[in-house]
Amino acid sequence: MRIANLLKIAFKALNNNKLRCFLTMLGIIIGVASVITMLAIGQGSKDSISAQISEMGSNMIMIHPGSMQRGGVRQSADDMQTLTVADYESLRQIAGVAAVSPSVNSGGQFVNGNNNYPSTVYGITPEYLDIRKFSVREGAMFTDHDIKSAAKVCVLGKTVADNLFPDGTDPVGRVIRFGKIPMTVVGLLESKGTNSMGQDQDDVVLAPYTTVMKRILAIDYVQGIFASAVDESQTDDVIGAITETLRSRHRLRDDADNDFEIRSQQELSEMMNSTSDMMTVLLACIAGISLLVGGIGIMNIMYVSVTERTREIGLRMSIGARGVDILSQFLIEAVIISVSGGVIGVIVGVVATWVVNYVAHWPVNIQLYAVALSFAVCTVTGVFFGWYPARKAAGLDPIEAIRYE
């Protein structure tokens, strides 16, 4: 028996039952397509979360004043003045810290001629750019000299620049006002868009922290310190070292709580990843079940088909088909259904993924392993669920089969 002949026989048999064949395939198509789409959506959202987190700076460590009681009254974090410039300077000495910057900010109205826009000025050092993964698109970042001299210079985020200079003039070199303080624009930031929380990351103005502290807020403490570890794996060690340093500097007793809070992006990213992992597993389970149902559909149809075609099987046997020929025919039919269902399923899955991306704007990432896996599963399904009916067909007694009514 030639394979080509077997294929020919199986194709003819399927061709005679196009609708049924298609409906059986539909189970597999839906199964495969949903596995691919679900995993693509799951992976896509995971990717976008981690991309957004790394945009914010995945090594970032944030230190804020925290938990302090004054005479039994717990204080709001804004009022606390536990972090100082000296604290910031001490953190620069810690090994594993790549960059560190104090942070003070003040909201207010920026004015340029007859345009004005409310935004927040962040007082920082140039290292802040590395921590938050900002970069300067035009002009230059202010310098350490500007910090020492508390120079009235600033770098604008895109949103602020667009609003203050709607006519498209180059802001670099121009003087804007923040409240009553004139500031020279020395640079423009590269646009970063919105972050995962929906905040506009371009709605910022960066200035030397000394300028904000002395000239705007008139305070002698910092509101927060941003730092970054050399790489993500060292984040925990660096957090430990920072905690040690700050506790000793603040002369906290061993049993006292920290008077500051340290948070890292890592915690956030782990939490978000575990959520999206769970969703992916859930989606994959649902899709896997639909693939299984598709497989049972094949078995059901092949089983019915064997009974329905008993006479045909008897005839084939009487004209010389061996049991193995009949077995192969039915098995090949099952495999053709499942494999072509798989191919169509892959196409439908890819298209559906694209549609999800295009219509719902969900981030997607088609997983090659999902395509390979679902395709392999549906082929195995075809053989597995086709085997039993095929065995039944091959085991028929030709004498009874040919006279079957």
Binding site: N16, E312, I319, G320, A321, G323
Partner: protein
Amino acid sequence: MCKEIIRITDLRREFMVGDEKVKALRGVSFTINEGEFVTIMGTSGSGKSTLLNILGCLDTPTSGDYYLDGENVRDMSKNRRALTRNRKIGFVFQNYNLLPKTTAVENVELPLLYNPSVDAVERRRRAMAALKAVGLESRVGHRSNQMSGGQQQRVAIARALVNDPVIILADEATGNLDTRTSFSILMLFQELHARGRTIIFVTHNPELSAYSSRNIVLRDGRMVSDTVNLSPASAKEIFMNLPDDND
């Protein structure tokens, strides 16, 4: 000159139906030579179906020997019998057993699909030749459901001829057809016989014995008569004298 195609000796076949032993064949012996047109007759329960199954290598006897074209079928494995059916036997059934929604030529090609030594070109050539032999060369592309009963039976006969078998086994081949069509099919069998085909025609209809060259009658699993018909009646004459369908 007379080559022996079939030789059966003391053929017995027993079935177990529940606890009861049913003896379908109780010792049948005969020899069929090349070029004979044999009708095997018997009422239902006479064992003619069982005999046909054994002759067609679908079943094996409980005891006794069956030589087909010099080979002992009793010793054959299941696959070997399938091969024998494919190469040496052509079946014609009462209900045609054509594949549905399949064209005449594809139906005729079917046995050759199970013969790896025949390629696609040869297969098509032989199928066309077989269809020509049964007078259906104009209907090769018709599907089985687009043909009359008589045409379907002709396709079935072409299918039986296509592998150039040593014997054609017909099981009530005219049983589902009206008188006129029956005679046309019978005529076809006589033509094939005239061209040297060996044919065994199993039927319960005693009238048909007049058209064969030899008639074997079975009753209760035994052969009760074996007569040679030296001057078979011509089905063609009867057919010509039948009134036309379109009256």
